[in-house]
Symmetry: D2
Subunit: 419 residues, 4 copies
């Protein structure tokens, strides 16, 4: 369905050619400063056709808050948001190619099989425009996560076609053991990634190879896929709701709900499945004490919430053990297929079963969607994290009202009772 989340609940609507696309966000914390200015930047990053950051500001896709705030403060009530569609007339192709052929590997045909109605845009809600509501909702989540815990979510393009920023090697079958990768997830920022617009791969050499790869396919009227890697920093330990709603399960759900995604791997991922346990296990070490900050930046610091005593020496787990965060960086990778709309002629059957058809898409098409997927990956990650965080905060607050467990003289019992 069109709702994601239990505590921070996002419901979206909208197709390509209707009046507007938008969402309702229920469960927004009350008392947070929030205006359209907090939301628009990610909306703008999501826009297609971006080139350098110096591009004059794109005035399209302006988000309008409908409810849930007053005088720039959230009320705690649902926040409705919408973005008007520029072209609000459903297309009526009148027997054109689009009407005759379900586009191969598009959602045209499956939408018709499912709903029995053919939307003018073909795949209805499979349109990338559907993701506007997600990004708008997520901007609210991201603001909260940053204010409360200093949580940072940064995604970037890690491969285009067979050009990988961190290709698997004998030494590093997975980037999770690659020092260069580990250093990068410590420091990468959105600003840094956006310096590499339109590619959004923050590595000069890889970026130029990727750009050539995309040009190569563009020139052939063909398309190519790639992957996006994402890191989430400063998530508290204890987040994630086993057994079914483990944090990696929710991330996988979220990522595979993004149009054109084909795969998800967390931490060491598929590569880690080839590494012996003796190397793959992440031993525990003492967490470095962070220098006390005279001006606390986050709510957690202000409230004096304790950081965990331990952390792990390596991080093949990607910050998650048993479906629950351990306080280390969460990172994962998402694969996106080559765009289905290509200029090359395709021999394919019509809706009516005419098998001698040839479909030729006209105009210029985006040969690679991966750079545009970056803010959407970040958005879905934020929605997962805030929902799991609120679930755990409910548990902690609820638990704090219970009598402390009595420590008995038995050392064993103490262990059992916890601390």
């Amino acid at each position: 369905m069109s709702t994601f989340g239990t505590f921070f609940k996002v419901t979206t609507y909208g197709e390509s050619h209707c009046k507007s696309v938008g969402c309702i966000v229920d469960g927004v914390p009350p008392g947070m400063v929030l205006t359209e200015d907090d939301i628009q930047p990610q909306m703008t990053r999501r826009r297609p056709g971006q080139s350098k950051l110096t591009t004059p500001r794109d005035e399209k896709d302006r988000v309008e808050i409908q409810s849930g705030t007053e005088f720039g403060i959230t009320l705690g009530t649902p926040i409705g948001m919408l973005v008007r569609n520029q072209d609000q007339r459903p297309k009526d192709y009148g027997g054109s190619t689009m009407d005759l052929f379900p586009r191969p590997s598009h959602a045209d045909w499956t939408y018709q099989e499912k709903y029995g109605v053919k939307a003018s845009s073909g795949g209805g809600r499979s349109s990338a425009r559907e993701t506007i509501g997600r990004v708008a909702a997520s901007a609210i989540a991201e603001k909260y996560l940053a204010l409360a815990h200093g949580i940072e979510i940064v995604a970037w393009v890690s491969s285009v076609g067979d050009v990988h920023q961190f290709p698997p090697t004998a030494e590093h079958p997975t980037p999770s053991s690659n020092p260069e990768f580990l250093s990068m997830i410590n420091t990468i920022t959105r600003n840094k990634v956006d310096e590499f617009v339109p590619l959004r791969c923050p590595h000069t050499d890889s970026a130029s190879k990727m750009a050539r790869k995309i040009e190569e396919f563009r020139d052939k009227n063909d398309s190519i896929g790639g992957t996006v890697t994402c890191v989430i920093r400063n998530v508290p330990s204890g987040i994630g709701e086993p057994c079914f709603d483990k944090i990696e399960a929710m991330l996988a759900h979220a990522m595979l709900s993004i149009p054109a995604s084909k795969g998800f791997e967390v931490g060491s991922g598929f590569g880690g499945c080839e590494v012996p346990g003796s190397i793959h296990n992440d031993p525990f070490v003492l967490a470095t004490e962070q220098p006390s900050d005279s001006t606390p930046q986050t709510g957690a610091q202000r409230l004096g919430l304790k950081k965990p005593k331990l952390t792990t020496k390596t991080n093949n787990s990607g910050g998650i053990q048993g479906g629950i965060t351990n306080g280390a960086h969460i990172y994962f990778r998402v694969g996106f297929k080559p765009p289905a709309t290509i200029g090359v002629a395709q021999k394919t059957a019509t809706y009516d079963g005419d098998i001698d058809g040839v479909l030729e898409a006209k105009g210029r098409h985006d040969p690679c969607v991966v750079p545009r997927a970056v803010p959407i990956v970040e958005a879905m990650a934020a929605l997962v994290v805030i929902d799991a965080l609120m679930a755990q905060q409910a548990r902690e607050q609820t638990r704090s009202l219970l009598p402390p467990l009595k420590h008995t003289s038995s050392a064993k019992q103490q262990e059992v009772n916890g601390v």
Copy 2:
């Protein structure tokens, strides 16, 4: 939380050392023949320590139906099921190693961070024993899926460590273009897979290489991961609930909720992200008419439900386009990390932050969990499919009660109105 599904809703309970583990399944179709004999086989396949099929029948893990059936017929009310734990006493290790050290890459530490209580089994619900309820529930789902649509779900071990049944090659960067793989997903059965117990890789040569790989790590008191591939056949077209609950999103959620899983890819997967759109796109062709069967085997045949007119020539999509099934085989792959419990000594901190500790696990440990993951992957796949199927069947039944849309003289309008 511990509930999965909306229409076919499974709620599980149980840790390693409590009285029993089990589940409640709500939404089971009424009027289906069902006894423990329908459920026990998958329970038994799930049991650890299996060798050849000639092994005398394992009488442990007997499932007991508590409610929801009478005279072997489902009532439509919730079905409670349980399996008694053999060892029902929580462990009290009394200052033993287990009490002092959170095991690296286990859930011991994160469970304590989350719940503030240390369960005797360490990671509480992260125990593999938790999956019993899933498998029991899923056996009901599988029976329905087979009776109603002839749906078959078969998983097998496709890699152990770096031994792959279908390693990526220049010609076939993803198995989805490999004829041998495609032939296999057409025909593979559970019986065939079980002929290869304990490995469950139904390919003699790969299986023996995998066996040697596991022995190698077992002999070093080390462990190794691997992958499971799963195919789902005969799912009707139109299944899956965009935008957030696309069928691949639900499958990813389900698979990443299995203990020790690290990655998920559907259809051509990560390999497909390196293939040009012109090759990756699946053109539409006429579906082969199936010979009319004088004795219909499935409910869908008895009711005369129409098969879709079209299918795809290739199947890089893995049977899914835009989050909705197209009637072709659904297939996906799941990665599992090496087991965290190993005999090799590990330098790691204690709960108290003593950093000079060395943890040495005693006894024999399972060096590779992948073969045992096979029935759990099948189980979670069945839970996803039945839930999405029921959602779509609700839609179809609801729609069938609406007046048929009027076809106007305008050809365009007909297209719009659907057929």
Copy 3:
């Protein structure tokens, strides 16, 4: 939260002074003819300040469909709808009475206790304006229910203060045994009710007494409550999801979510608790065969769905037994308290705890909200019925794909197997 329903899922947003109020409806059956014209009439009936039906058409509260339809046909995707607020500026009363006093029996104070933020409109979402989204969503549900099953939902004012249309008597402690009442629920229509606007009590004598009662309180700057009775006709048997989501439980939930509601009773209600079982029980009788209709009006008729063989002679059950509909008319009554905003001076404390305050509301206030509650009661009833109907239709469609149960020679077994 702000979502109602599982299958036909309505999420609303909006306060009094934000840009718009609206909703997203997910789960709308695809292929249904739907435009704003289907929705506006109930929106208009919901408007305050209505007098006779001859009133020139009120052009306020125009609903705008944002998504989910094309060329006037539902796509099966979420339908976004909104109504612009006329006065979009949050009020800043600047130390006025409204800022100082929480209004007695209003939500001003509890909203502040809950959210810690004071909305300019006081009770935020407790505003009657919040119900706009409900009514818009429900108009879609009602259209479906009428087309598919001929379901009719009609509510009317059954009491104002102590003026009751059917006061309890020794003979009829509950209207459920009163022939006049039973005849009325067979025949009452919305048109008939609206002939009695502004009172919406379709009984001339009662209506005039009620009008006088309201005038009496209006003249005293005071207010008075009342009740609304609602009948739902033509709901198929078998609707309702025990044990927790019995149809009467969902109706009670829905009705008590309407602002100012204080009570709910179904069928014979509280009065029926005083009637002996021998009289209260509804004996089964053969259902009258309905004359075959040459032009089927509903989807159920077109598909030849069978009507139940039995019905009940009396209907103290209000069409529901064990939480499941039996095909007879469902009817229930909802109580509404007197409006809290009154002109009479009230001695009450300020937010700051100043206890010597006197609050005097200015302007004219609605002395009785019950007539305006009528379309909202109908709306919530429709949302309950369509959700439960879709749940049951999912079950029936799912069940229909199972093999028919074999009838054995044993008569007993046949009974058990059902028919």
Copy 4:
């Protein structure tokens, strides 16, 4: 369906003649002392056939915790519980009366209409035995509510037939203005109520009248209904989730899900709909400061959670305004119909439509279920309160991590920003 609650989620299973009845409770706070001894007392109170408290302890319906605790401490994981059925064989009446007739006003017939299968017990889950899981789950909730906030929930029989403890009078059209009633809800305890077992009306005179009323109907082989009133004390202000999940809406949902219930009214209820606003409104007054307690009894006291500054002088609102608690006592009344199973012969149709049948139930039947409904009303109230409480505690904890809103020099702005 069979799940209630979002945060404290209860799923139940079981019919009359299956192996066991029980539940899974997900979301239980970790670190709470809990054993069967905390649960059994309410299970025993729920048992039928109780007479005086001096009755030897009933050893039937022993609850067994299956999971989720270790060494008597909750783990935070799901708690499975079950109670074995004494008679586990489904009945096969073999053409007896029970097989031929759907019992009037029972669920026999509607269950068959819904599920198409006839359970041996007739109405399947409509059996009172289904409520065992609810009561077991609720005992956990109640323990938490008492420890954390000192919340007390007490229900009692307030009427049998036309014998009312507080009949409406001209002076007190609703008990909410009756000083005797208001005094009672301040002080009534479960122990006091149980002194009046089997009637559970803690008012000697009314109790004896009610006893005579029940005897009168028992002697006629007939039955009679009645009402239960329930008070919930010490619920913090701010609980309840508008707009759809107002606390009274959830209570109404919960109460109407209890077998045989027919109505719900909160606070002044239906009687309050006849009272002028000027009298019905509850003016705000300063809350009495409670004497500081040297030994804090509740978690809220230990944590120093503030009590609200204001309370209301009267309490016609029943502790709820705008769907949110205001800290005053919550009270409500639930109506139960006369039991459908009576010894008196009933002329009614058979399943097959034979209309000349006469159904005569044999044996002794319970002539009034109201006293037995008392612990079930309490149980459902506890489930509602804990779920809403956890929702609000999640909000508060989440909000506490936000930066405090800046107070500007503008007094108006301060109001807007909240305090």
